[in-house]
């Protein structure tokens, strides 16, 4: 059944060049790998790739293995990774290649998925493995900031991967469509790309599901599959029927005869109550009823008493419909729930905020919630009032470009300029103050990248790159 190979596998990058959109990662990774291949193992014998799912972390390793003719030894979350399992790999890793054997590269995928209970001793064994290995080791993780991974971070070259741009995802999808001779609409591909939020793998899976199901990829089909399908009433019809109901049973029928799920139904009604009702009293009554429906939903979630589901429908349907006492019935224009759209649109921004909160929470020893409430607002003020000072804090916390963008908003480029100036100054010898250096040796604030000598080298490289104007990510030493 070879023609049935899933497209994610069929169109996996074969060459390093095929892994697009991750130039910075490659810039760090390839020289490191070359050192290995030239027989001079680098100081950090492992590299840790991190970043969101589906952006090419594993692919890059596979492509490199393919290109340099390395034997790929892989271990991932589906394998047991107890102490003894890692040690098995370690045996292989500790031996030099035989005369005829191929060189090897070891891939430990998803180290953040190493389980505390089932993979007892696994992390310690990996550290041991890194010490003794005679072959390059690459690890991947979505979230490398977990406290238990700290030793791994310290022992590894940290290589960040970016979320893929929408444009790039569309390109890839297009290429696949061409190769598969699938008729496709640009708008449809764009829609898929938007929804996948930089996760190429899920985009390709979606594409394949649609293409194989329908033989073509049009915006209509995509929308239908991606939003809700399989319904007697579209959300618009559902709303129309609901708001026109004179009797409780009609309204109940409206909300139960749609195949939107209950949470989505509530969102549609939430969005459109003020579109339909004009009198504030009606609006309020309707929302009170909807709020009761939401309370039942909360109770179902907490107690798993599905019996209560029908009360959700009673209050979201008849309750909202019968709230109208003063408003005249009118033909209203209904809108798609803004909250759902807004959440999709801001997903990346929210992720950045979480990452930022997480990074800072660990440094000042408090919860993410507290950081979001008590620290980020003040940081934001500093970033938007004093770009020069902000730049120093950005350097102090190794903030990524995205984080800086989030904090500085319109002043982003100014903060960046200051950072570049700081980096230039750092290239001059003996400017770094001792105070900061001591800080940096503290375990939890330890620079993720390397010791100081290495750092300087990396700095030079990154600042040179920056002068060329390339790159979207800063991983700053110090």
């Amino acid at each position: 059944m070879s023609q049935r190979i899933p497209w994610v596998i069929k169109y996996r990058p074969k060459r390093i060049a095929d892994v697009a959109n991750q130039d910075q990662a490659k810039e760090k990774f390839i020289p490191w790998l070359r050192q290995w291949l030239q027989g001079r193992p680098p100081e950090k014998k492992a590299a840790l790739f991190y970043g969101p799912a589906g952006v090419g972390k594993t692919s890059l390793v596979e492509a490199a293995a393919h290109e340099y003719g390395l034997e790929l030894i892989e271990m991932n979350a589906s394998d047991f990774r107890r102490k003894e399992d890692i040690e098995r790999i370690a045996k292989v890793a500790a031996t030099q290649m035989s005369l005829f054997g191929r060189r090897k590269i070891i891939l430990l995928d998803e180290v953040d998925g190493i389980s505390g209970t089932a993979d007892r001793g696994g992390l310690d064994a990996i550290l041991e493995l890194i010490k003794i290995t005679k072959h390059p080791i690459v690890m991947t993780a979505n979230d490398p900031w977990d406290q238990k991974l700290r030793p791994l971070r310290e022992a590894s070259l940290m290589i960040p991967f970016n979320r893929l741009s929408e444009r790039y995802v569309v390109q890839v999808l297009k290429r696949i469509c061409a190769a598969e001779r699938i008729e496709c609409e640009d708008a449809a591909l764009k829609y898929i790309a938007q929804r996948c939020e930089g996760d190429l793998r899920s985009a390709i899976n979606d594409l394949q599901a649609i293409a194989e199901g329908y033989g073509k990829v049009t915006l209509d089909i995509v929308r239908n599959l991606v939003v809700s399908r399989d319904r007697q009433y579209t959300p618009w019809e559902m709303l129309r029927n609901l708001f026109m109901s004179k009797y409780a049973w009609q309204a109940k029928r409206a909300v139960t005869h749609t195949d939107l799920d209950y949470e989505t139904i509530l969102q549609w009604i939430n969005e459109n109550i003020p579109n339909q009702y004009t009198d504030p009293e009606d609006v309020w009554r309707a929302f009170e009823s909807l709020a009761r429906a939401d309370i039942y939903l909360g109770r179902i979630k907490r107690t798993l008493s599905w019996d209560l589901l029908s009360y959700v429908f009673d209050l979201a349907g008849p309750g909202v419909a019968l709230a109208r006492k003063k408003s005249k019935f009118r033909w209203a224009k209904y809108s798609f729930p803004q909250k759902i759209m807004l959440l999709a649109k801001t997903k990346e921004m929210r992720e950045i905020r979480e990452a930022l909160a997480d990074a800072i929470a660990k440094r000042i020893h408090t919860s993410r919630t507290t950081v979001k409430r008590e620290v980020l607002p003040y940081l934001m003020i500093i970033f938007r009032e004093r770009p020069d000072y902000a730049a120093r804090i950005a350097v102090g916390y190794n903030l990524t470009d995205n984080m800086i963008k989030y904090l500085a908003g319109p002043l982003y480029s100014q903060v960046k300029e200051h950072i570049n100036m700081l980096l230039l100054r750092m290239e001059k010898p003996a400017t770094a103050s001792t105070r900061v250096e001591t800080r940096a040796t503290q375990p939890q604030t330890k620079n993720e990248e390397a010791g100081t000598s290495k750092a300087r080298r990396a700095t030079r490289k990154s600042s040179r790159r920056r002068r060329k104007g390339g790159g979207t990510q800063t991983t700053l030493p110090l």
Partner: protein
């Protein structure tokens, strides 16, 4: 199939193939496409209990592989051990095992996947990818939000909704014809209402009722041990008319005679509130439903049956008073 299947209509008339599934048309249509193409992505079936998720998964497998489909499918449900260890051993082994010629892939069916730990889901996620050439996963869940993001993005999502009245009744009628049993329209409607969109339950009730005689509402209520709606409505009316004590006596009678628990009573009340037999201003129906829900929740949390139901009737009485006062 053994004789049990013959005895139990729910088993006997469980759809074997996608064609026999009479509802969820859109879903069935999409699933049939997969059979045609002999290909499919990983699937995630979500929806409340009793909406046919497991049945659909089996029917799909049946249509793909024929009668003996079970040899190509590994089924793990909630009562099975499904920690990270099982995923790494049992599931992996099955996924790795040789795919027979002519079969495009094997199926792993995981029921109540939302109850699996995050660890186990992580391991699963990798398996889904590694063995995607030879194995497809069907995950079944009540709450999609409890499935980790990377798995969701690897699956085609299918939302199952509670069965519609006409679908359930059509199915019941068809079974009645097969089994040559007598029924009235109202009898079947009563079954639908009692079973709340759960097809299996509906068929069980039908069978029990048919064993006694013609399937009428009376017989149905008797069989399931529920009060006759008329009695429930009487109780509601008594309370609304201000006859609180009499309503309470009626309540006691119902609980004793039918052996109803507090939740049983509230559920029956809830059903009657929206019935047209009960003459009520529409707005009041919603208010009563809301309060009934509140009382049911309290009972679920462990409050006392009698005190809570008294409180409910008392509240109805007060409502009736207000209603009369305002008119």
């Amino acid at each position: 199939m053994s004789s049990i299947a013959e005895l139990l209509w729910a088993e006997k008339y469980r759809p074997r193939s996608l064609d026999e599934i009479v509802n969820q048309e859109e879903i069935v249509k999409r699933l049939k496409k997969f059979v045609e193409e002999k290909n499919m992505p990983h699937l995630l079936f979500v929806g409340p209990p009793g909406t046919g998720k497991t049945t659909a998964a089996h029917a799909l497998a049946h249509d793909l592989y024929g009668e003996n489909y079970l040899q190509y499918m590994l089924e793990l449900n909630a009562s099975d051990e499904r920690g990270i260890d099982t995923i790494r051993t049992k599931v992996k082994e099955f996924a790795r095992s040789r795919t027979p010629p002519g079969v495009p892939f094997k199926i792993v069916l995981l029921d109540e996947a939302d109850n699996m730990t995050a660890d186990a889901q992580q391991a699963l996620r990798r398996l889904m990818e590694m063995y995607t050439a030879s194995t497809r996963f069907i995950l079944i869940a009540n709450f999609p939000s409890k499935i980790i993001e990377p798995i969701q993005s690897r699956c085609a999502l299918f939302r199952f909704t509670p069965l519609k009245k006409e679908d359930v009744i059509a199915r019941l009628k068809w079974i009645c014809e097969q089994e040559k049993c007598k029924y009235t329209e109202e009898g079947l409607e009563t079954i639908y209402e009692i079973s709340e969109g759960d097809m299996r339950r509906a068929i069980n009730v039908l069978q029990a009722a048919a064993a006694i005689g013609t399937v009428t509402p009376d017989i149905v209520y008797k069989v399931v041990g529920l009060a006759h709606p008329r009695e429930i409505r009487e109780m509601i009316k008594l309370a609304l008319d201000g006859q609180f004590q009499r309503a309470r006596d009626q309540l006691r009678q119902l609980m004793i005679n039918y052996g109803l628990s507090g939740v049983d009573v509230i559920k029956q009340i809830h059903r009657e509130i929206f019935s047209q037999e009960l003459k009520l201003p529409e707005e009041l129906r919603v208010m009563i439903a809301d309060y009934a829900g509140e009382i049911q929740f309290r009972l679920v949390e462990g409050a006392d049956d009698e005190i809570q139901l008294s409180a409910f009737l008392a509240w109805l009485t007060l409502l009736g008073q207000k209603m009369r006062a305002s008119s």
